[in-house]
Symmetry: C2
Subunit: 151 residues, 2 copies
DNA sequence: CTGCTTATTGCGAATCTTATTTAATAAGCA
DNA sequence: TGCTTATTAAATAAGATTCGCAATAAGCAG
């Protein structure tokens, strides 16, 4: 899980016959400058770019997010909102995980070094090239436990 | 993560003012009798029931799957197909996790006792009531590493 | 630097999954 | 046994993501 610059992104793309476009560069830049713990949906990213005066189509955003997740640059998070979120994929010691309330969708980040170790070991054992490893805990938060009415 | 019978499901539902319907009973039964390691999408379950002559609408299936996941009866898995899969939520020592190839979507199940312990501890520390904890590894399988062409 | 090949973009339409609305039904309780 | 209201089926809608295609432009060869 290396950290990318525009240059290293370009060479990794070109090595595979792909191209570095201004759109891809801009999107990488957004994620690299995102506050720690923040993650964006495709729609979020689209709006954010609109507000900055950057005109990138939703199609391109979806394509780029998927591409970068498959390259290991971004992590694809399945939180509780019904659509995917993305964040930059950083190695130890920034690597973290999510605790989600299934009722109110509140999400807490937590760290645990042994998880990444387990992921690395498991992938290696099977001959897989590791891109990302996530632990997701589904639970009911204290507030929703007390308000025991809704689903 | 207790194991449910139709009876215990009924009392847990009734305690909250909800009802045990034949549809819910049938769906629980399907998951309880599923071979270990098998998981179903809403569509899968719908087709399976159709073939058995059970007529349960897709709406009801979606509602029931979500309900049972929120009760902790089922695990909601986000594998690579673009839609959710469900399986019965079994405690140690049947608790397991998934290693997914992001290119061909091949999925391998693996076990690791310490993950469930970490999940339990983390949820407890935050005062959350644990329903499920999953580790998901995104990686590239040996076959797709060799065929280095597609995304 | 210039031109060529083809990956990539933007747009609109299509698709796929999931949620919602509504009238009819039936579970659970008194 | 009857009443209240949660639940169902069916149709419709909503939301997220993908696809097809023509126009554009990145990267390579000369």
């Amino acid at each position: 899980m290396p950290l990318y610059t525009a240059g290293s992104l370009k060479s990794e793309l070109n090595d595979r016959g792909w191209r570095l476009t201004p759109q891809r560069e801009v999107i990488l830049h957004v994620f690299q400058n995102l506050a720690r713990g923040k993650h964006l949906s495709a729609e979020d990213l689209y709006n954010l770019l609109q507000n900055e005066g950057e005109q990138i189509s939703l199609s391109t955003i979806y394509r780029t997010l998927k591409l970068m997740a498959r390259m290991g640059i971004l992590r694809e998070l399945e939180l509780a909102e019904g659509h995917k979120h993305y964040e930059i994929n950083q190695p130890y010691p920034y690597h973290h995980h999510h605790l989600i309330c299934v009722r109110c969708n509140k999400t807490i980040e937590f760290k645990n070094d042994s998880i990444l170790k387990t992921g690395t070991k498991t992938a290696k054992k099977e001959g897989y090239h590791l891109l990302d490893c996530q632990m997701t805990i589904h639970a009911v938060c204290p507030t929703c436990q007390r308000a025991l009415l809704p689903i």
